[in-house]
Symmetry: C2
Subunit: 171 residues, 2 copies
DNA sequence: AGCAATTAGTTAGCTGGCTAATTATCATTT
DNA sequence: AAATGATAATTAGCCAGCTAACTAATTGCT
């Protein structure tokens, strides 16, 4: 879903590192390489998830919308609420919903009390699709994360959180 | 650069968890939440980097092309080589180069020995732009990664690599 | 020499991200 | 009751990713 920042085979060799170090002495090589690796691994995991969802004719965006709807007792949310919960802009959500409506996984229902507003509802076909995907998804996530013992995973997460909280250095 | 998968405020509450656990008993809640957090943090860091580059009128894709060119002694690569090194498809690279050419940061040079081929060269304006960005970038990466002591960072990376190597579970 | 296969690059058309601007409706205020 | 302001959703137009299909040129084989 994003640019694959760095092919591992393209880690700079020592000649290149020297060139860059000479021109930009403020570089800390190990932190740069680690940073790029973190971005890269996130991208790889995201791609793997997309490829998996692709087998069911979905991608992360639309799949996530369906999950958000399924969380609701009546399977309904407004477009704006969906955009907020998914963390995307409203125009992006419009596009995701358009695709889901086309595939019949979701329906737009008119709102009688406010004619600007549409209710978005997970259809029974959408629910069926989720019931196909989710067990498989959960199994695979369990297998993926299973390579690390749970204490390690907690540590890992804490450290990533620290980085994230520090991401304001780019402001 | 990718979908923001999960707003922290939208972590499922216990009522929702129960609903999903009942319907999908194969779910391992902690591994799912950790997995989503990892994706999310990668996306946040990537966004922060994009926003930073945006101050200089660039985004990750074009910036990375310029860095790859600067690595070469003659500042030249072919479009195909750039696509491979950046890990994107050839059509995507065509688009990135188009944008860079438009801004004068890169030039297309004809190749006399093979008229299908173009050489892509970093212009002096492009080099000037990199010289503006890179010191600032390196400083910020150093500050970002500095929150974790270097042994922690090594551990973190090792664990992420293990996850990555295991990402074939999604195949 | 000539035809087939390969290669470099682009175009077309899809997905999904964004901001800015627009349309339609609702709410408020006078 | 009318004008102003706010809000819901969409449209327009950009960037960046992809696959499939295409053009043009080179390579290789007989």
């Amino acid at each position: 879903m994003w640019l694959i920042m760095l092919q591992l085979k393209d880690l700079p060799d020592s000649k290149i590192l020297k060139k860059f170090a000479k021109r930009y002495p403020e570089a800390d090589v190990s932190s740069v390489i680690q940073f790029l690796h973190i971005l890269r691994i996130g991208s790889d995991l995201s791609d793997a998830l997309d490829k998996f969802l692709g087998k069911y004719g979905l991608l992360q965006g639309r799949w996530w919308v369906m999950i958000l709807l399924m969380r609701e007792d009546d399977l309904i949310l407004t477009s704006t609420a969906l955009a907020e919960k998914a963390g995307v802009s409203k125009p992006t959500m419009t596009g995701l919903i358009d695709g889901l409506v086309r595939d019949g996984l979701v329906a737009r229902l008119e709102d009688n009390s406010d004619r600007r507003r549409y209710s978005i509802k997970l259809t029974s076909l959408g629910q069926k699709k989720l019931d196909e995907i989710m067990p498989d998804y959960y199994l695979r996530v369990r297998n993926l994360m299973g390579v690390l013992p749970s204490e390690r995973r907690e540590e890992l997460l804490l450290q990533l959180m620290q980085l994230k909280e520090n991401s304001s250095v780019f402001d």
